[in-house]
Each structure stands twice: as C-alpha cells, then as structure tokens.
C-alpha cells in the first residue's frame, strides 16, 4: 500500500510542478538589519581550511570569511584595494613592495592565543610559510621579507613581477597567528584562526562549516550573526534546497537547475560576467594539429553559436573570441572582433587539402563528462570537413594526466584564475608551462614568451601592460593554439530575503568586509 501511496504522490507532485510555482517567503529590500544565519550551498566538499593546504575555490570561499590577506580585489575584480595593508608603495625598479599595515587588527580568539593584535611579524611568518610550505606555490620569487616596525613590512622580489599584488590576494597568502599554527600542527586546517569578519565555529565532515560573527573585526560590524556553508554536491539537490528554503544561496548552478531557479518567482537568479574561459586546445607535439592550416580549418568549420546553444541551453555563457575573459582588464574588444570567424566549410576543406589531408583524418577529443554535449556537437561539425572525431570521455584525474603529458590530440576544457592577464596568457601559452595542464598542447612561440615576460617585468602600469598583452594576443590569435569557445558567467540563485550578497567574477564570495556586508530581511 505504501508503494501505491508513493506512486500516487509522485504523480501528484509531477502535476503540481507543471501547474504552479512554490511558496518560499520573500520580502523587499530596505534598511539593513542585523541578525540571522545565511546558509550558502557549496557544490564540492572541503578538505582543509589551512591557507597552505587548501586546493579549491570552495575551500577558499569559506576561508574568505575567516581570514584576510594584505590586499584584495574589489567586488567586480577591476582593481586591487587595501585589506590588512591600508597602503603600499612600489620601488622604482618594481622589485620592492612596502606595506603599511592597519593598526587595529586582532586575531580571533583561539586555543593558543587570546585574540592578540596582528603585527608585521605575522605577515612575515605567514608569507614565508606560504612560500616554503605550500604545495601550490601561491607566492613565489620572493627574495626577502623584512619587518620594518610593528606596522610596516617590506617584501623584496628576485625579479620585477607586476602580477605580485594579485598573487597576494590569494587565500593561500592569508595572515595567520603563529601560535595557532604551531599549536594545532597539521590540524590547523580544521581549526582555522584569522583576522576575518567571521570566527570559525564548527565543521561537520562532508556536511557543513559554520562561522560566527567576529565581534573584534577591524572592518564594519557584519550584519549576519553567522554563516553556514552547506556542502551539496548534486546540482539538482542544490536548486531544490534553495526552493525549499534549506539554503539561502545556491552557487555553481548548472543545466536544468538554472531553469528551476529562473522559473521560481520567489527566488532571485543572478548571472554575472565570470572569469572562466572554455576552449578547444590542439596538440603541437604530434598529429595533424601540428599544422597551422589544420587548426585554421577546424576553426573555420566550428559554429560557436551552435555549440553555445547546445551546451548552455539554459544560459550562463557567451561566445568567446579571446583566451582572456571579458572581466579581465586585459580584454580587448577590437582584438576579439578581429579574431571572429564565420563558418566556411568550403574554405576549411581547401585548407585541409593544402595541409595534406584532402580526405580529412581520424582523431580524438578528450573531455570530462560534463562537456560531452559540447564534444558531440563539435564531432558533428567536424564531420562536414571529413575529420572523424572520437569523443574520449574521462573523469578529471585521467583528463589532467592525459592532457598535461601531451597525449590528447585535442581537448576541451576551461581555465579560471585571477583577473590579471598573466594568470591566463602566461599559464596557457608560455613554453615554460609545457608539461602543466595549462599548456598541455605543448605550444611554443619564442616571441610570445618574450612578450609575456616583458608584461610582468618591465612595468606595473596597467595601461602599458595592456598594450604588451595586446601584442601577445595578436600572436596567439594568429597561431591558434586554442579555439576560444565560451566566456562563462558566475551563475547563482538567492532567496528574496538575502541582500547585499554578490559573487565576484572570480567566483569568490565575501560575506562581510569594508566593501560588502550581506544581510537577511526578517
């Protein structure tokens, strides 16, 4: 009988879903009020909250509430603004950075210290710890860190590096108290203590992390009493949890779950410019794709609009024509327009013939399971010019291994990092990155290498650097190591009672700081 009952209610549920919306509470915006716990759904698990041990955006988004860095990006990632350092100066040779620290910063209370004042020694300790102990090398090329006085610290670099400040915004370079790190040892990642707007309270494995308001926070008092970061791996469960009121913010929305949120009048759907670019990459070490004419032919036969419609039918991305995302300051619309192509199968076939493949060839494209729809459309587009593409669907571990060893003839993936072009162009196209996932195709161009080094060594002036990156982009567009596919948005949903909450283009979440202060209406 119970089965019959379930069968009936499932049918009733399906009918109800097609007929009407849901009844989540909502209220308008107004004057910010204090109190409440904001519940945010994170789509992947958390393994460590230690700055030198974390590996994912999900972890850094929790850490952003607990820790602070010397400098940070503003909400739209357009410029670097003060954080624990209220100001800084850069020497003329671009090799020395002197930071003037805030004087009113206290660590949260922990087991091994009672909430003492943060000083320049803590900055030196934390950055040296990151430099020497982090597996990810989130800071590099530092020659020396000198404590000038309690509130001034100087960092000397081995070589001038204009992308040094963006590097300091990484949660891997957050400032930590030595006593807590030493006291907890390897377990500091499970008992994090920093200077952020919220204090770590509880971590239930695979379930959630809870942080409470830090009453001694140096910035404006956070409106929220607490924030709960709930781990919800399944995208459908994520949108259902938002609709049911289990969570207030659903992040990393994908596929049909976007539609669930969009359709629900009681929820807000947000799709903002992100910092993630997707692309098809070619192997330069072996196979037909070594030849420029083959790459040109493939590019000409690709209909990106079709690929976009097929793989992002619920929205959340735009066609890309540059390897830099639109949200990066290095993005140049003129160069993007120049790089646009219209589908020309006839010309593509001619190019293939000239390259020595009049009848096309057989090849493979490697993708992770989520990108099978893109690969399938790409496969059918290639058939038109005689290239028979087999889709190799592998999960992430195998994908990264195959690609970084240049064993994939072609692969589709995406890239995201800081807004500074160095973290896209150097990582994906400099020959020093061959062997890493970024330049898995093994692309090499000496002139480009020189320009990419020049862009970070010669000047810290953004306009001058943009001009150098412009030249670099022209070379990349000509060589076609990638066919740029999409510029992905940051897509999330919130309940209507959430106010003042944004996710930055780099997918980072800051709940409360001197820049932002989220709150919940009653």
């Amino acid at each position: 009988m119970l089965k019959k009952f379930f069968a009936l209610i499932i049918v009733a549920c399906l009918l109800a879903l097609t007929a009407c919306g849901t009844n989540t509470t909502s209220s308008g915006s107004g004057k910010a009020v204090d109190g409440g716990t904001l519940k945010i759904g994170l789509s992947s698990n958390i393994a460590s909250l230690d700055p030198i041990g974390y590996t994912s955006t999900y972890e850094s988004n929790v850490m952003r509430s607990i820790f602070d860095t010397l400098v940070k990006y503003n909400n739209d990632n357009s410029k670097i603004v003060p954080s624990l350092a209220k100001s800084w100066t850069i020497s003329k040779d671009n090799k020395s950075y002197t930071f003037n620290l805030r004087t009113n910063v206290y660590f949260q209370k922990g087991k091994f210290q009672k909430g003492r004042k943060m000083t320049a020694s803590d900055v030196k300790y934390s950055l040296e710890r990151s430099l020497n102990q982090s597996a990810m090398h989130r800071i590099r090329d530092i020659k020396k860190i000198t404590v000038i006085n309690n509130h001034q610290v100087k960092i000397d670099l081995d070589t001038p590096y204009a992308a040094f400040l963006p590097m300091l915004t990484d949660m891997g370079n957050a400032i930590v108290p030595k006593e807590e790190v030493k006291g907890w040892g390897d377990k500091f990642g499970m008992h994090p203590v920093g200077t952020g707007a919220f204090t770590f309270k509880k971590w239930v494995a695979d379930s959630y992390v809870l942080v409470d308001r830090n009453s001694k926070y140096w910035g404006p008092k956070p409106h929220l009493d607490a924030v709960k970061f709930a781990i919800i791996g399944d995208p459908n469960t994520m949108s259902n949890s938002l609709a049911s009121g289990d969570i207030d913010v659903a992040t990393n929305l994908q596929g049909p779950s976007i539609l669930t949120i969009k359709k629900n009048k009681n929820l807000n759907f947000v799709s903002d410019q992100g910092l993630q670019v997707s692309y098809l990459s070619f192997n330069f070490k072996s196979g037909p794709t070594k030849k420029l004419k083959v790459r040109q032919a493939i590019k000409l036969a690709m209909d990106k609009e079709d690929l976009l419609k097929g793989s992002f039918k619920y929205g959340g991305a735009k066609v890309a024509d540059l390897p830099l995302p639109r949200a990066s300051w290095g993005y140049d619309q003129k160069l993007a327009d120049q790089n646009k192509t219209t589908v020309d199968v006839k010309k593509a076939k001619k190019l293939l013939k000239e390259a020595g493949y009049p009848n096309g060839f057989n090849t493979n494209v490697y993708v992770v399971p989520a990108r099978v729809p893109i690969a399938t459309i790409f496969q059918s587009q290639m058939k038109k010019i005689g290239i028979n593409v087999s889709i190799k669907t592998v999960e992430w571990g195998t994908f990264s291994d195959t690609v970084s060893k240049a064993k994939a003839p072609m692969y589709i993936m995406s890239w995201s990092w800081y807004p500074d072009p160095d973290f896209f162009l150097y990582q994906m196209f400099d020959s020093k990155q061959i062997g890493s996932l970024g330049n898995g195709g093994g692309y090499q161009n000496k002139q480009l290498d020189q320009l990419l080094t020049k862009a970070t060594a010669d000047t810290t002036d953004q306009a001058k650097r943009k001009a150098i990156y412009g030249q670099a982009l022209e070379i990349i567009n000509k060589d076609i190591p990638h066919v740029n596919l999409f510029d992905q948005d940051v897509v999330y949903g919130t309940s209507k009672k959430v106010h003042g909450f944004t996710i930055s283009p780099d997918s980072s979440i800051t709940i409360a700081s001197d820049q932002t202060n989220a709150w919940l209406s009653k």
Binding site: I10, C13, L17, A135, D186, V204, I232, D246
Partner: protein, 319 residues
C-alpha cells in the same frame, strides 16, 4: 560454535590480504595522478612532482604495496592525501551516519515488506498478492536517484514539510534529526523492501505447503498461529540470508542516496576519494567494508543457529 567463530575469524586474514591486494592494484591501474588532481589545473609540473615525492608516489608500486601491507599489519589504514588525516578517523567520522541511514532504511523495509510478503503468500492468487508483487517489482525497478529527487520535489519544495538535504547535527534537536532522516531512509529502503517482500513470499509459500502445516491446521490451530509460529518461523532462514546481504550492501552502497541528500556518510567519502585519486582512503574504506561484510555474514550464520537450532556448524558431527 566457538570453534566455528574462531575459524571464520582466522579466515578473515587471507580474505583481507586478497582484498588489499586487489584494491591496491585496481587503484593504481586507474589513469590519473593524485598529485595533479589534488593541486588542480593551475599547478606547475614541478609542483606536481614535488607533491608526488611528499606523498611517496615516486616509489615503485611494489615498494608502495609493501609499505601499505606493513601499515595494515600494524592496524594503520594510512593517511589521506587530500584530508591529511588518518583514514580511520575519516571513516569513523562518517560511518555512524551511514549506519544510522542504513538501519533506518532497513527497519522501514522490514516493517513494510515482511507483513506484505506474509499476506501475499497466505493469500496467494488474491488481488493483494498481485498488488504486492507488482509494487515490489516497481520498488526494484525505480532508480533511487529519480525517486529521491521526486520525494524532495514533493515533500520539501512543494509541500515544505521536510528538509531537502543534509543531516541534523547535535544541538539541532530530535525533531530535526528525524525530519532529516525520513526522505533518505525511505528512498534507500525501496530496493531492500522489494527484495524482502519477494523472498518472504517465496519462502512462506514453500513452508505453507509442508505437511506439518497441514497437520497443524488439521489439529484446529488458529490461522494466525499456524502462519506465525509454524510458517513464518520456519521461513525465516532464507529471509535472514537476504537481510544479511542487504545490510552489507546498504552499508557500502548508499552512494546515490547519500549524494542526492548530501548525507555525510561512507558512500560520499569513497566516491570523492575515487575522484580525487585518494588511493589510501579508497583502500582503507574498502578494507573496512570488507571486514564488516565478513562480520555481518558471520553474525547471520550465528543467527541461523538461534532461529533454527537444528543447524549445526560442528563439522566432526557429520550432518
């Protein structure tokens, strides 16, 4: 009996060695490097190499296996690459959650399926028999993830009666604990529920055709007494076998339910460990579950004896 238990426990050692060897070989055969998965797409080749060295992955596979066996002999399941914590700690944190979910699902399954199976058998050919047979077929056929999502859509999103995800923790109260448990337990219970009702029906049908049942009926014993005392008790042995197997598979196989409901159990731990190539966690979890599987089967064998004292494990005694 004691001899039997000791013998079975000794048998556990070669079983575990074989399990350890197989799982070790399989994890090493999967393409993909734990260091590059851990460090993510932005890591440089030198960072990956350095981490491989730290994790001992640059040693030969044979050396890694010997080190692993040495750890096992010392009851050490190793340290997770990703969590940097002992594997046993990770398992013990999550295992109680899986245990709660499993036993709740198991209890619901038994509560519904045993009476359904008994009724179907005693009224063979009736509309109730057909109803239970068809619904149990549905129970086995409905994909767990679909049923889970439908239940969430109805009870959480549309009606707002029950939470959609997660598990209540200490401090949330008993009500929160129960409400969080209902949907995942019901979802997980469908397959064992269907299996139990089918096996109960089949087993009861066989027993109810025995001569002693006819004799009991002829003696004028009440129908209820005939079914429960003479019928059900004697039909219990195959039900117990299936129950033992179901509990074992539920403990290791609640992966889909745990994923849909974000239930922090063993299934999630193992799936994530496989995705992250956290070999040590995969190996440790499989060995832990293998021990559990053997112990549950041992417990079932002991229960056979309790249910049916005629069963003998004394090999010297002949039959």
């Amino acid at each position: 009996m004691l001899k039997f238990i000791i013998k079975r426990l000794i048998n556990l050692i070669p079983t575990l060695f074989i399990v350890a060897a197989i799982v070790f070989i399989i994890t090493r055969m999967i393409p993909g490097d734990p260091a590059s998965v851990l460090l993510g797409p932005q890591a440089s080749a030198s960072d990956v190499h350095r981490l491989r060295e730290q994790l001992g992955l640059n040693d030969s596979v044979f050396v890694q296996f010997i080190k692993y066996l040495n750890d096992l002999i010392h009851f050490n399941l190793g340290q997770s690459f990703a969590y940097k914590q002992p594997v046993l700690t990770l398992i013990l944190e999550r295992f109680p959650n899986t245990l709660i979910l499993t036993f709740c699902a198991f209890f619901i399954a038994l509560l519904v399926s045993i009476p359904a199976g008994v009724i179907a058998a005693t009224r063979k050919g009736s509309w109730m028999d057909y109803l239970f047979t068809v619904t149990s077929l549905f129970g086995i056929s409905i994909p767990v993830f679909w049923l889970g999502l439908m239940l969430v859509l109805l009870f959480s999103v549309t009606l707002g009666w029950l939470p959609a995800t997660g598990m209540a923790s200490s401090g949330d109260g008993a009500l929160a604990f129960i409400t969080h448990l209902i949907l995942p337990s019901v979802t997980l219970s469908t397959i064992p529920m269907a299996n139990f009702s089918r096996i109960t029906r089949a087993s009861m049908l066989e027993v109810m055709n025995q001569d002693y049942i006819t004799a009991a009926k002829a003696k004028g014993v009440s129908h209820f007494f005939v079914v429960m005392k003479h019928g059900f008790k004697n039909a219990l042995t195959p039900i117990l076998t299936v129950a033992g197997m179901e509990v074992s598979s539920l403990l290791g196989g609640a992966v889909l339910t745990e994923t849909i409901f974000s239930w922090p159990g063993m299934g999630q731990l193992i799936v994530e460990a496989i995705n992250k190539r956290d070999y040590i966690v995969v190996q440790g979890s499989v060995i832990f579950l293998a021990v559990l599987y053997v112990l549950i089967n041992l417990a079932v064998d002991i229960l056979y004896k309790v249910v049916n004292p005629k069963i003998s494990y004394d090999t010297k005694g002949g039959k």
